[in-house]
Homo-oligomer: 259 residues x 2
C-alpha cells in the first residue's frame, strides 16, 4: 500500500440524542459524490461529538452544582464557569495539573487530556450552557456503529471515534483515536529488522492516531463534517472488532510524566 | 477542501553524504506513476533520515569517547552502548528523564523527544556502528530543498521534514514536523466562532503535524520510501518560506510537564 485518499462526508445533519447515527452516516456516504456509499475496506473516522450527541452524553450547566473544589479551580481563571469545572471533575479520575485555567486530567477511560475532553464548542444549536462529554465507552460506541453499518450496508468497514488532544511539548492539537473497532490500533515493528537487516528497536507506530490525524485534515472545523472516509487501508482492517484503543494508552507504571 | 491523496515516491536510492537530494526526489517523482512529477500545490513530506544522510549528519561510534556520565546512563540498560549515549548527550540541551534506558531530551532545536532523535536504525548500508542525527537546522534544510526543487522543476511546492516522536501518555510513535518551508505550520481558530456562533476557545490545530502523520501512513517503514507527496493542500501553502516549525514548539515557560 503506498497511496490512500480521504473524503469528508457532506450533508450530515445536526445530531440529536437518540439519532440513528449509522443510518444518517449511510445516507451521507451515499450522497457524497466522491464516496458513493460505504464499500468493503473503507475506514470511517468520526469526531466523537457526533457520537456523544447521539448518545445523549451532554450536560446542561443549569443542572450542575459546583463543589467547593470546582469553585477554587474556577477562580484561577477569569471567566471560568465553576459548573463547567465541576463537569470536568466528574469526568476525571486523576487531575495531573491545574495551571492558568488549564486542567490536565486522566479521564475514567484512561485518556490524558485537557478538561477531561469536556467541550463547550459545537454544542447543539440553541443549547447555550450545554457541554459535550466524551462517550462513556468509545470502543463500545465504535463497535456498535460498525455492526449497525454492516447490517445497513453489507460493507465490511472499520470505525474510529476521535477527539482533538493537545500534546505535552508541542503547541496545537492533533486528532487521536479514542474508540476503535475493526482496525488494528498500532503497528509494532519492534524486534523486526530494517532494510539493511538491523533490528528496529523503537519503531512502534500508533497507526490509529495517524489515521485520526489524516482524517482531520479532510474536514473543516466549522463545516459540520464530523465524518471522513479513508480509502486505501483495507489491509489494516480486522475481521473482528479487535482490541480497541487500549494498546495505545500508556500504562501508569510506564508513564514518566504523570507524576 | 474536503479531499486529499497521499502517494509514496518509488525508486529513491540510498542517500549518500553530499547527494543532491532535490534532484533524486525530482527523478523519483517523475518515475512514480501516481505522481507524474512535482506540480504546483504539492506538499513533499520527507523523513529526516534522508536529509540527515545527505547532509552528513551521521556519527561513527568508533570516533566517540563516552564521558563518565554517558557510562553511568548506559549502565542503567543492559546492552546500551555508552558511545551511543554520548552522542545523545551531545545532541541534548536538557535531559528531562532517564528511566529504564529511555532518555527523554530537549534537543538543541527545542524538540522534546526520546534519545534526542539519534537513531541507529536505517543507518547507511554496511555502516555498522553509525548513528543518524537530526539535521542541524531542519527548517533551513526544508527551505533549501524547496528552493532547489523550485529551480529544478518550476513547481511551487511546500516541504515538510519529519521524524517519528513518542508521546507522553500514549504508546507508539507518530510522525511530526521538525522542519517546515512554504506551508503554514498551524491553523489557529482561537477567537473564531463555530457553526452556531459560539467562540471556539481551544481549537488550535497543529496541521503540519497532522500532515506529517498522514504522510507516514502512505509509506512502508521497511521499503525505503522516505518521501511522500500529498495533494489537495494547495490552500495551505504560502508564497514565502513561512515561520518554520517554531510555532509548534511549546515555550518552556508554558510547559507544565518539563519540570
Amino acid at each position: 500500500m503506498s497511496a490512500f485518499s480521504a473524503v469528508a462526508l457532506d450533508g450530515l445533519p445536526e445530531i440529536a440524542a437518540g439519532a440513528d447515527l449509522a443510518a444518517l452516516l449511510t445516507q451521507a456516504a451515499d450522497g457524497t459524490a466522491a464516496v458513493g456509499g460505504f464499500a468493503d475496506g473503507d475506514l470511517l473516522v468520526l469526531a466523537h461529538k457526533a457520537v456523544s450527541k447521539a448518545e445523549g452524553r451532554v450536560r446542561r450547566l443549569a443542572d450542575v452544582t459546583p463543589s467547593p473544589r470546582a469553585h477554587v479551580l474556577a477562580q484561577q481563571t477569569p471567566g471560568k464557569d465553576p459548573r463547567h469545572v465541576q463537569v470536568v471533575l466528574d469526568e476525571t479520575a486523576e487531575l495531573l495539573r491545574a495551571e492558568r485555567g488549564v486542567l490536565i486530567c486522566v479521564t475514567h477511560h484512561g485518556f490524558v487530556c485537557a478538561n477531561a475532553g469536556v467541550d463547550a464548542s459545537n454544542a447543539p444549536a440553541g443549547a447555550d450552557g450545554t457541554v459535550i462529554l466524551l462517550p462513556a465507552d468509545p470502543d463500545a460506541s465504535a463497535r456498535a456503529l460498525r455492526a449497525r453499518l454492516r447490517a445497513l450496508t453489507g460493507a465490511r468497514i472499520g470505525v474510529l471515534v476521535t477527539d482533538s488532544f493537545g500534546r505535552a511539548w508541542r503547541n496545537g492539537q492533533v486528532d487521536v483515536a479514542i474508540g476503535i473497532a475493526g482496525v488494528r490500533p498500532d503497528d509494532d515493528w519492534r524486534g523486526r529488522t530494517d532494510s539493511v537487516g538491523r533490528e528496529l528497536r523503537a519503531t512502534w507506530i500508533a497507526t490509529a492516531d495517524e489515521l485520526a490525524a489524516a482524517a482531520d485534515l479532510a474536514r473543516g472545523k466549522d463545516s459540520r463534517q464530523p465524518a471522513v472516509v479513508l480509502r486505501g487501508f483495507a489491509d489494516r482492517l480486522s475481521d473482528d472488532d479487535g482490541p480497541g484503543v487500549g494498546p495505545l494508552l500508556r500504562a501508569a507504571a510506564e508513564d514518566m510524566f504523570r507524576r
